[in-house]
C-alpha cells in the first residue's frame, strides 16, 4: 500500500514531510490534509502564546525578512511577533524605504533579498501575482502576506483556526466538522483577497459558502468557485453559522462602486437586527481593519459572546508561527523532511 497522502483526505501521513511545497503562495495549491496539517501545527503555538513566557527556539539563527510593498499594520506585526517568538532574527522592509521607490524592479529586489541569504521572506504587494513572481526567483521559502486581489492564505488559515477552536468549544452547539458549516462572506468580494482565500479554503474543506455583495462588487463567474452569490444580505445570512464581514476597500476602487457609505450600511451593514437572521449561535468574523458603522456596527463587532474578531488576531500569530516553522523545516534539516 502506498504511503502517499490522499489529496481528498483530511488525514496526513505521520513522520513529517507533510507539507510538500517550497512556498505558501495561496490556498489554491493546498489539499485538505495540508490545510489541516497547518492548523494542527498552529494549535501548539496558541498554547504557547497564552503562557507568560512565549518563547521558542525553533527558528533560532534564522533570518526572516518581512518585505511589505503595501502598507500593513496588523499583518506585519503578526508576522514579526511570530518570527520573534520562534527565535528568528526578523527584519522588516517597508516599500517606502526600499529601492522600489528608486525604480528598482520587483525581480531585482527579489534577487537582492535572495543574495542576503534570508531563510524565509514574507511578502505583501499590491499586485496580484507579485508574490509568485518573487518566489520563482529566490531560493528560500516565500510566504504570501497578501497579493493584490489574489490571495491572503495566512488570513484564511487563521480564520479557519478561529472557526475550529470555536467549533470545539463548549459554547458551540455544532459538531467539529467544517463540512457541516454554512458560512456567509459579505462585503467587497471584488477587491478582497481575503474572500478568495477563504472561499478556496472553506469549499476545499466542504463547507457551504455564500457570498454577498452589491453587484458592482461581485466578481464575474464567482459561482464557478463553488459558492452561491447573493445581493440580498438578509437572504444571504439566513440561518448561517458564520457571518464573515469584509471591509470596503475604497483604495482599490477606480471610480464609484457604491452610492454612499450610508446606503451601503443600510443594505449591507451587519446590524444587531440583521444578525438575528443568522443561526442563534452564529459567529461574527472580520479580518480587520473595520469600517465601524459601515459594513459592521460597533454593537455587533464588540459582542463578547458572538464576535471572534479579536480571537482572529490572536490566532493570526500562532498560525503564522506554524507557517514559518513548517516552510523552513526542510532547510533546517528537520528529520523526515526530504528535499523537494
Amino acid at each position: 500500500m502506498s504511503d502517499a497522502p490522499n489529496p481528498s483526505s483530511t488525514r496526513y501521513p505521520a513522520g513529517g514531510d507533510a507539507f510538500p511545497h517550497k512556498d505558501l503562495i495561496g490556498i489554491a495549491p493546498l489539499a485538505p490534509w495540508e490545510i489541516h496539517y497547518l492548523l494542527d501545527e498552529a494549535e501548539q503555538w496558541v498554547a504557547l502564546n497564552r503562557q507568560p513566557a512565549k518563547h521558542a527556539d525553533a527558528l533560532a539563527g534564522l533570518t526572516i525578512i518581512n518585505a511589505f510593498f503595501e502598507n500593513s499594520t496588523r499583518t506585519l506585526l503578526s508576522f514579526e511577533i511570530a518570527g520573534k517568538r520562534l527565535g528568528a532574527d526578523v527584519v522588516n522592509m517597508h516599500a517606502a524605504q526600499s529601492s522600489v521607490k528608486k525604480g528598482e524592479t520587483l525581480i531585482d529586489t527579489a534577487t537582492t533579498l535572495n543574495a542576503m541569504r534570508a531563510d524565509a521572506i514574507v511578502i505583501r504587494h499590491s499586485s496580484s501575482g507579485a508574490v509568485q513572481l518573487i518566489a520563482d526567483k529566490v531560493d528560500c521559502p516565500v510566504l504570501n502576506a497578501g497579493d493584490g486581489q489574489h490571495e491572503h492564505p495566512t488570513q484564511a488559515l487563521l480564520d479557519a483556526l478561529t472557526m475550529r477552536f470555536w467549533l470545539r468549544s463548549d459554547s458551540c452547539p455544532l459538531s467539529d466538522e467544517f463540512a457541516k458549516l454554512k458560512i456567509a462572506i459579505c462585503g467587497d468580494i471584488m477587491h478582497s483577497r481575503v474572500a478568495r482565500s477563504n472561499i478556496l479554503l472553506l469549499t476545499t474543506l466542504g463547507a457551504e459558502v455564500r457570498v454577498c455583495a452589491p453587484p458592482a462588487l461581485m466578481p464575474a463567474a464567482i459561482e464557478h468557485m463553488k459558492v452561491t452569490p447573493f445581493s440580498d444580505f438578509n437572504a444571504a445570512i439566513d440561518g448561517v453559522d458564520v457571518v464573515m464581514m469584509l471591509r470596503l476597500q475604497n483604495e482599490r476602487m477606480a471610480g464609484p462602486f457604491i452610492p454612499s457609505a450610508r446606503e451601503y450600511r443600510h443594505l449591507f451593514g451587519l446590524t444587531p437586527e440583521r444578525l438575528k437572521r443568522a443561526a442563534p449561535h452564529a459567529l461574527v468574523m472580520h479580518p480587520g481593519p473595520m469600517n465601524r458603522g459601515v459594513e459592521i456596527d460597533s454593537s455587533v463587532a464588540d459582542m463578547l459572546e458572538r464576535s471572534a474578531i479579536t480571537r482572529q488576531v490572536e490566532m493570526g500569530v500562532a498560525l503564522r508561527m506554524a507557517c514559518l516553522d513548517v516552510v523552513t523545516r526542510r532547510a533546517r534539516g528537520v528529520e523526515g523532511w526530504n528535499s523537494l
Binding site: S127, G129, H224, M225, G255
Partner: protein, 411 residues
C-alpha cells in the same frame, strides 16, 4: 540603381490570391510581376527553384507597433502597416513621411496616421497632409477614442479622403484599469477585469458612426462572439466594414493567463474559450477579413513585472504564418482563404498594389514550406524581444525565401 535581370520562380505551387494552389511559375521584371501561371523562363532570367513549395504573395501585416525587419522577414512579411502609437505619435506629416521611408527597399512600411493630435483624443490632425506623406489609414491606435463627436468628425474627414478608419474596440469606460476579461480565471487570479461586452459596445458605436460618416471602418481586432455577431449583421446590411484578429485570439483563451504569465498580457485581454471558438468560426465563414501579427515586442523591463503592471503586447511577426497555417491543418480554412486573410484583404484595405500574384502588381513574393516544423523559442527569436505566449510551442510552416520588389532578401 543596380540593373536587375528579370526573375522567374519555377517549380512551386502558386497561391495567387484567387483560388487554391496550382503548379506554375511566376516571372518578374524590375519590381513588378509580369506573368504568373504557365510561364516559361526567358534567356537572361534569374531563376529561383521553389522545389515544390508554396509560392504566395509577401504577407502584409495590418497593424504592427514596431518596425522590426528581421522578425518580419523571418515571418514572410514584406509590408507592414505601422500603428500610430510611436514615440512621438504619427500625427504630423513629416513623421509619417519618415516612417514610410524607414524600411525601404526590402520592407515597405505603410504608416497609419493618428486619429487625433498626440493620440490625446481631442484635436483633429492634418489627415490630408499625412495621406500625401504616405499614410494609408487613420487610427486611434491602442486606445479607444471615447469622444463620439470627435470620432464622427474624424470619420467624416477620413471618408472624404478615402482613408479607412482602424478602430480599437474596447469601451474605456468599462475597461478602466482592467487587465483581464471578467470571468472565472480573472476572478480566481484576482485580476482587475472588464466584461467582454466592452468590445461589443464599442463596435456598436463605431459601426453607427461609420454609417453616418460613410467611412470604411476596419476594426483591428474582434475577439468576442458578440462582437463578431455585430460585424456579421452589419456586413449583411452592406456597411463598409472589415475586421481583423491576431493569432492569440484563435489559439488561446484566458486559461493561458494562469500562473500570471505576462507574455499572455494582451490588449484586448484574452477571452473565454467560447469566444475563441467563435473567432475560429468567423475566420471560416468570412466574417473576419484579416489576420495580423499585432507585433509589439516588449523587453524584460515591460514584461518581468507583476501581471497587472506588465505592458500588454506580444512579439507576433515570426509566428503569424505558422499559427495561421494551423487553421489550415485544422480544416478551419483552406490555403486560398489563408492568402486572403494575410495578403489579399490587407492590401485591399490599405489600397496598395500588392497582396496577389498578378501581372502588374509589386513583385512581393514569399516561398513557404507549410510543413516545416520548428519550435518557438522566446530566447532565440529574430524579433527585438521574445515576448510570445507561444514560447516553446512546436509549430509548422515558415518562409524559406522572400522577395521584395523582385529582389531576393538575404536573411
Amino acid at each position: 540603381m543596380i540593373p536587375r535581370e528579370p526573375l522567374i520562380i519555377t517549380g512551386g505551387k502558386l497561391l495567387t490570391g484567387s483560388g487554391a494552389p496550382s503548379a506554375g511559375s511566376i516571372r518578374c521584371e524590375g519590381d513588378r510581376i509580369v506573368a504568373a501561371g504557365e510561364v516559361e523562363a526567358q534567356p537572361g532570367d534569374r531563376t529561383h527553384d521553389a522545389r515544390g513549395k508554396i509560392v504566395m504573395p509577401g504577407i502584409i501585416d495590418l497593424g504592427v507597433f514596431e518596425i522590426d525587419k528581421p522578425a518580419f522577414h523571418f515571418g514572410g512579411i514584406t509590408r507592414a502597416a505601422l500603428m500610430p502609437d510611436q514615440n512621438p505619435p504619427l500625427d504630423y506629416p513629416a513623421r509619417v513621411r519618415f516612417a514610410a521611408s524607414y524600411g525601404k527597399p526590402d520592407l515597405w512600411v505603410h504608416p497609419i496616421a493618428a486619429a487625433t493630435r498626440g493620440l490625446a483624443g481631442s484635436e483633429l490632425p492634418e489627415l490630408g497632409l499625412m495621406q500625401e506623406a504616405g499614410a494609408r489609414a487613420v487610427s486611434s491606435g491602442r486606445q479607444w477614442l471615447g469622444d463620439s463627436g470627435i470620432m464622427l468628425r474624424m470619420m467624416q474627414y477620413a471618408a472624404m479622403l478615402g482613408l479607412p478608419v482602424i478602430s480599437h474596440a474596447e469601451d474605456a469606460g468599462l475597461t478602466g484599469g482592467a487587465v483581464a476579461t471578467a470571468g472565472e480565471m480573472a476572478t480566481r487570479l484576482g485580476l482587475p477585469s472588464a466584461p467582454a461586452e466592452a468590445e461589443s459596445l464599442a463596435i456598436m458605436r463605431d459601426i453607427a458612426l461609420a454609417e453616418m460618416a460613410g467611412a470604411h471602418l476596419h476594426i483591428r481586432q474582434v475577439t468576442t462572439a458578440a462582437g463578431l455577431d455585430l460585424v456579421r449583421a452589419a456586413k449583411a446590411r452592406g456597411v463598409r466594414l472589415t475586421c481583423g484578429v491576431t493569432p492569440a485570439y484563435f489559439m488561446l483563451s484566458d486559461i493561458a493567463t494562469a500562473g500570471f504569465l505576462t507574455f499572455t498580457r494582451l490588449s484586448p485581454p484574452l477571452r473565454s474559450e467560447a469566444d475563441r471558438l467563435a473567432v475560429r468560426i468567423a475566420l471560416a465563414d468570412g466574417t473576419i477579413d484579416t489576420i495580423a501579427s499585432g507585433h509589439d515586442p516588449r523587453g524584460p523591463e515591460d514584461k518581468r513585472l507583476p501581471f497587472v503592471d506588465a505592458a500588454p503586447g506580444m512579439a507576433g511577426a515570426e509566428t503569424l504564418l505558422p499559427l495561421t497555417l494551423s487553421l489550415v491543418r485544422d480544416g478551419v480554412i483552406d490555403m486560398a482563404r489563408m492568402c486572403e486573410l494575410l495578403c489579399v484583404n490587407p492590401a485591399r484595405i490599405l489600397g496598395v498594389e500588392a497582396g496577389r500574384l498578378e501581372a502588374g502588381l509589386e513583385a512581393d513574393i514569399a516561398v513557404i514550406d507549410p510543413d516545416r516544423p520548428w519550435i518557438v523559442d522566446s530566447d532565440r527569436m529574430e524579433a527585438q524581444a521574445g515576448n510570445t505566449p507561444f514560447d516553446k510551442q512546436p509549430v509548422q510552416g515558415r518562409a524559406i525565401a522572400l522577395f521584395k520588389g523582385g529582389q531576393k532578401i538575404e536573411g
